[in-house]
Symmetry: C2
Subunit: 392 residues, 2 copies
C-alpha cells in the first residue's frame, strides 16, 4: 500500500486539474432590457477563466451552466477544497476541453445565486434584496450578458460555446442570436424546448416551494426564514427525474435500509434514504436561493426559439453559422435522445454541419456531468478539431 | 337537434349502467392480525354488488381497487349523480364484466377512507380517530379481509378476481394465497413489485404530505386542519406520472393559457393550469384522508410476493391454480409493459395458463380506467369465456 500525505494528495489533485482558480467579478453599467420587458440598470457577472487567451483571441471557449450550476466549472478554490468545479472531468490540461489549448470561461448567470446579480442581491431601488421582485430571465437575456462579458474580455468570436441541459439551450440561443460570434456549438443532453411533461415536473417543484408557508411570497429573508421544505421536495423530485429507472434499480433495487421491513414511515428502502439525504442537503447546506430556483425553472420552460419562427425549427436555425456537436444519453428521459435528434434533424435540414452522438449510459440526465469513455472520446475528438482550426 | 329532458337523460344513463346502487356494510368481529404484527379487534367493510349471484355461487367476480379508488365501481348512487362508479365503462349490462352474467362485488379496502375502517375511523381503544395510529396494511391483509367478505356472501370460489394497478397486485396476492378460491386472475397495468423509481415517486409524495406543517404528525383532525398543500403536491405528482409524455403533448403541448407569455408565476402554460386544478380539487373536494394516502402508497411499496420465495417469481407463482389475463398499456411508464411481461413470463415458466395483451394507448397508466377498443375486445372476449365456464 502506497502511503501518501495530505499535501502530496493535494499536489496530485491540483496537477490533474487547472489548479487553484479565483472567481472574478465584472460590473456592467449598461442597462439591460430583459425579454420580460423589465430593465436592470446595472448588474454583476461572476466568472472564472482557465488557460491563456491567445494573441488573436481565437481560442476562447464559453461554458454555459445548467439549473443549479455556476461559474466554477473546473479546478479548486483553495488547496484543501474537497470537490473541484462541476465539470472538472471534462475541463483541464489534456482533458476534452484542453486548457493547454483553450482559454475557457465559466460564468454564473444573472437570476442565479452564486455571485452574479440575482434575487438575493440588493435592489438599488429599495436598498433591500430583490427577492421575488427580481425579473424573469430567459436564455436570450443570459446570452446577452455573456456577450457583454466576451466584449470585456476582448473575445469577438468564441471558438466554441458549450453547455449541457439548460446550458445547451443557451448554446442554441448563442448560435441563433449571434451567428458570427461562435464557430462551434456543443449542445449536450438538451432540447429545442421543454415538453408539457417537463414543464409539469417544473411546475410541481415550483408549487412545492411557493406553497411552503416559509416562502412568504418570496420575501423569506425578511422573515428570517427559508422555504426548506419546498426546496427539499423540489430537489428530491429533480434528483429522481434526473436519474434513470435503470440506474436506480442498479444502485438501490428494493434494498432495505435495515434488512427487514419496519412498517413505518421511517426510511424503509435505500432509495428513500438517498433521496431524503439529497433533498435535505440541498435545502439546508447548498445555500441555494429559492427565488433563483424558481427563476431557473421558468427559464427552462420559456426556451422555445422556434416559437418566433412559426414553430419551424429549420427556419429558426437557418442563419446559424456555427458547426455543431450534439450529444445525448440513452437513459436520459427528461432530455431524451429523441429531443436531441430534433435539433440534429433541423440543423441538417437547414444545411448546417452537425455531428451527433448518442452515448450509452445508465445515468439518465446526470450522465452529461459524469465520466464515460465514449462520451469523452467523442467530446475530445471534436474539441481537438476545434483546437486544430485555432492553430491553423 | 334532439331535445332531451333531464329525466330522459337520466333514464338513458341509468339504462346503460347497473342503475342505482346502494353501498352495504359488513362488520367483522373476528380479530385480524396484519402483516405488520398489529391486530384490529374488529373492522367494517363497505361494499357494493351488481347482478345476481347464481344458485351455486359460481358467477361471482371481485373487483380490487387502486390507490384512490373505492367500492363504488359501477352505477349511480342516486338518479342525479353526475359521475358513475370508477369502472362503469367496463362493468354493467353487456359490458366486459357483464352484470347479466356475473355477480360483481366492489369493496373498499381497510386503511382507505371511503367507509371501510381506516385512519379516519374511531379507534375503539381511545374513542378518537385512529389517525397515524392506524396500522400499516398490505395487499395480503386486504386479500384476507376480502376473503371474509366472500365467506359472508357465500362465495367459496370467485369466477374471477380483477384489478388494475394496486388492484392487480391484490389479484396476484389472491392467486398466491388462496389458489382454490379463484378460477381466473385478471391483472391489469400492474407489476410483480415496484421499482426503486416507483418507490422514489411515492416517497416524494409522502414527504410532501408529512412535511406539510398542517399534517401535525397525522393528527390534523385534532388540530382542525388538513394538510392540503401536501395532498395537492402529492396528487399533482401522481397525476403527472400517471399520464404519458405523449398524451400531455397531445393534450396541452406548450399551449399558453392566455395566448402570450406573462413572465410571472401565475399559470402560464395550459398544463400548469390542468395540474393545479387536479391537485387543488383532490386536496379540497375529494375529502381523501391524508393518512390513507400515505398507507396506500406504502402498500404499493411493500408488495413483493417473490421476496418470500428467494426473489424467484416462478416459484412464487408455482402453486397458483387460476388462469390469468394480463394486460398492459404501451405508454404506461409507471407500470410499463415490461413489468407485466415479468408476470407473464413467470406464470408461463411455472406452467400456468396465461393470456397477455399489450394495448396501444396514449393515456399512460390511466389507460386502464378509460375506453379503448382493443382493450375492451380483449377484456370482453376473456370474460365471455369465464361466463361460458360458469354456465357449463
Amino acid at each position: 500500500m502506497l502511503m501518501t500525505t495530505a499535501s502530496s494528495q493535494n499536489e496530485h489533485k491540483l496537477a490533474n486539474s487547472v489548479g487553484i482558480v479565483t472567481p472574478q467579478t465584472l460590473s456592467i453599467d449598461t442597462p439591460l432590457t430583459l425579454a420580460c420587458g423589465a430593465t436592470l440598470a446595472n448588474y454583476q457577472l461572476v466568472y472564472e477563466t482557465y488557460g491563456t487567451l491567445n494573441r488573436d483571441a481565437s481560442n476562447a471557449i464559453l461554458i454555459c451552466h445548467a439549473l443549479s450550476g455556476d461559474h466554477h466549472a473546473a479546478g479548486y478554490h483553495h488547496p484543501n477544497d474537497k470537490t473541484p468545479g462541476w465539470w472538472d472531468h471534462y475541463i483541464g490540461p489534456g482533458k476534452a476541453i484542453d486548457t493547454e489549448q483553450f482559454f475557457v470561461v465559466g460564468v454564473n448567470n444573472i437570476g442565479s445565486c452564486r455571485g452574479s446579480t440575482g434575487p438575493a442581491s440588493i435592489n438599488p431601488a429599495t436598498g433591500e434584496a430583490y427577492g421575488p421582485d427580481f425579473p424573469m430571465v430567459t436564455c436570450r437575456d443570459w446570452v446577452n450578458t455573456q456577450a457583454q462579458l466576451a466584449d470585456f474580455l476582448g473575445i469577438k468570436q468564441w471558438a466554441a460555446v458549450v453547455g449541457g441541459s439548460l446550458g445547451g439551450m443557451q448554446v442554441q440561443q448563442w448560435a441563433i442570436d449571434f451567428p458570427d460570434r461562435l464557430r462551434h456549438a456543443v449542445i449536450i443532453a438538451s432540447s429545442p424546448k421543454l415538453s408539457a411533461q417537463n414543464i409539469a415536473f417544473n411546475e410541481v417543484a415550483r408549487q412545492a416551494i411557493m406553497t411552503d408557508p416559509d416562502f412568504h411570497g418570496g420575501r423569506f429573508l425578511k422573515h428570517n426564514t427559508l422555504p426548506k421544505q419546498g426546496l427539499m421536495l423540489a430537489r428530491m423530485l429533480g434528483h429522481l427525474t434526473y436519474l434513470s429507472d435503470d440506474l436506480m434499480g442498479e444502485k438501490f433495487g428494493r434494498e432495505l435500509r435495515t434488512g427487514s421491513l419496519k412498517y413505518s414511515y421511517d426510511v424503509e428502502f435505500q432509495v428513500e434514504s438517498y433521496l431524503r439525504y439529497q433533498g435535505e442537503k440541498f435545502a439546508t447546506k447548498s445555500n441555494f436561493d429559492a427565488n433563483s430556483y424558481l427563476l431557473m425553472t421558468k427559464a427552462l420552460d420559456y426556451f422555445d426559439p422556434a416559437s418566433e419562427h412559426g414553430d419551424d425549427l429549420v427556419s429558426t436555425f437557418s442563419h446559424i453559422k456555427a458547426a455543431s456537436l450534439v450529444i445525448s444519453f440513452t437513459t436520459d428521459w427528461r432530455f431524451s435522445p429523441e429531443r436531441s435528434l430534433e435539433i440534429v434533424r433541423a440543423l441538417t435540414q437547414a444545411g448546417k454541419r452537425v455531428v451527433y452522438a448518442e452515448v450509452a449510459s445508465s445515468h439518465g440526465h446526470d450522465a452529461f456531468l459524469l465520466p464515460n469513455n465514449y462520451y469523452e472520446q467523442v467530446f475530445s475528438a471534436y474539441m481537438k478539431r476545434v483546437a486544430e482550426e485555432v492553430r491553423s
